[in-house]
């Protein structure tokens, strides 16, 4: 049986929550789906130790006026219907308008030792710490690029981690130029200063990156390359992330056009959140990495549009333009050092699901050929980690998704589709 919503929202991060609030305000029947057990997405992820920020609590309150479907993963899409798996079974959810707010994941670059237990994403370890992962007293090194490193480090410190340092790959000049730009964005500058205050005493080294992680069956030390040469640092945990990749898979499955001029494609939308498919809107990180402010504004625009209020949506356009301009700064100032693309050796595992090394991918220039011959990208993550990494290494672009979007139970896939209406 198919349940029907006027507006169906996928993702309960800042964008999806803002959508829900705006759409419900127009009296629409709204459903909000998220694979996670709690709302908040990445930035507002529930923290077992700290209360959520005020803006997050306010956004969560909007869920009281909609149907909140936690632990529901969208695994497939048919005409005007999503196939959704949850712990007790499968549901088919129909919609009048659909808003995609599926956010972003972290970009992981392969380097020798990156598969050792103890090595995780930077936002990844932040997320785990919020879930109660024991970091207190652990020696943690943070590396990668962008302001997310500071946010992750601040969370880790609040959870009692002993931070050994933050290694930012961008050179000092680029980071300083970014900091100067912040003067034009007072709210951002205040945020940045507060983060630095929470990280007082922690070394922040620019032009520095992790070249290798060492250990037998768990991390013991890392080799760091910096402006003053190489050094080895003993540590318990490495939190490393090279920016974010839009989660476009569901949009792609639905036939929405992607903007593919960057290494990692994002969903193409107009300023009013409309994708190339009528009745499908998109908001937040999947439309290009823009951060929290852009996600909230775009979510509200999408909610108004999905409920048919063009005037309310249009009123937010200037705010959207400003938030998106800030996002542009990130990609210019935190461009990746080309050396990072050469860290993996022929023996380095690239596809962690199927244990395929860089060497084994040798002669292939096309993702599909490589997949067929080596199983690279055919495992449980369906190439979300290795496909994005290979695109970043300049090997080949990530190939398109096939249903199910996540490994699903047979019963989920077998549930009969509804007959096509009219």
């Amino acid at each position: 049986m198919t349940e029907h919503y006027d507006v169906l929202v996928v993702g309960a991060g800042p964008a999806g929550l803002a959508t829900a609030q705006a759409a419900a305000g127009h009296g629409a029947r709204v459903g909000v789906i998220d694979a996670q057990p709690r709302p908040g997405g990445q930035v507002w992820r529930h923290d077992v130790r700290q209360a959520s920020p005020h803006a997050a609590r306010h956004a969560f309150a909007a869920l009281a006026r909609v149907e909140w479907l936690a632990r529901h993963s969208v695994v497939g899409a048919e005409t005007q219907v999503l196939r959704v798996e949850h712990p007790d079974g499968v549901r088919l959810l129909g919609y009048g308008a659909l808003v995609l707010a599926t956010g972003a994941r972290e970009l992981m670059l392969p380097f020798p030792g990156w598969t050792l237990p103890g090595v995780s994403g930077a936002g990844g370890l932040q997320a785990l710490a919020k879930q109660g992962w024991p970091v207190a007293g652990k020696r943690v090194l943070v590396s990668g690029t962008g302001p997310l490193l500071l946010a992750a480090a601040a969370t880790l410190r609040a959870h009692g981690a002993h931070l050994l340092g933050i290694h930012e790959q961008a050179p000092t000049a680029a980071v300083h130029a970014f900091a100067r730009q912040m003067l034009h964005w007072p709210a951002r500058a205040v945020q940045a200063i507060s983060l630095r205050t929470r990280l007082a005493g922690v070394a922040y080294r620019c032009g520095s990156f992790v070249r290798r992680a060492n250990g037998d069956d768990r991390l013991q030390s890392v080799d760091i390359e910096g402006p003053d040469g190489a050094q080895q640092v003993e540590c318990d945990l490495l939190a490393t992330g090279y920016g974010l990749v839009p989660n476009v898979e569901l949009a792609q499955l639905l036939g929405c056009a992607l903007a593919a001029h960057d290494t990692h494609p994002h969903v193409q939308v107009d300023a009013l959140s409309r994708t190339s498919v009528a009745g499908i809107h998109a908001a937040g990180e999947l439309c290009g990495i823009g951060g929290l402010a852009a996600a909230r504004i775009e979510g509200a625009i999408a909610g108004h549009m999905a409920a048919g209020d063009l005037t309310a949506a249009s009123a937010l356009l200037p705010a959207r333009a400003r938030a998106r301009r800030f996002a542009g700064l990130l990609s210019t100032h935190f461009a990746l050092d080309p050396r990072l693309r050469t860290l993996a050796t022929p023996q380095t595992t690239i596809c962690r699901c199927e244990d395929v090394t860089l060497g084994e991918l040798g002669g292939y220039t096309d993702a599909r050929d490589a997949k067929l011959a080596t199983r690279c990208g055919m495992g449980a993550c369906q190439g979300r980690i290795c496909g994005s990494a290979l695109a970043e290494l300049g090997r080949f672009p990530r190939s398109g998704p096939r249903p199910p979007l996540f490994p699903a139970r047979l019963a989920t896939l077998a549930e009969a589709s509804p007959p096509l209406s009219d």
Binding site: E106, L116, G124, A127, L128, G132, T349, R352, C353, C381
Partner: protein, 81 residues
């Protein structure tokens, strides 16, 4: 803050703050979550349901993503050896 949940990981009793994930509970017992195709030890990478490196067995059901599942009283969690 809220209460505690009690579960077992590889037979060891673990107590976690309510709202913790199974992944967090496992990390208090062992750094190892699953064996890769070639037999390497693996542990969570993304913390957000994308990488599938945290897969393990919960109450007899294999291939569950530990970072996506809240720890509950009485759960029996088994890493893959």
């Amino acid at each position: 803050m809220s209460g505690l949940v009690r579960l077992t990981v590889n037979g060891c009793a673990v107590e976690m703050p309510d709202g913790s994930s199974v992944a967090a509970a496992v990390a208090t017992v062992t750094p190892h979550f699953r064996r890769s195709v070639r037999g390497e030890s693996r542990a969570p990478l993304c913390g957000m349901g994308v990488c599938f490196e945290c897969r393990l067995r919960i109450d007899g059901v294999a291939h569950q993503r530990a970072c996506m599942i809240p720890a509950r009283n009485g759960m029996q969690v088994q890493t893959d050896d």
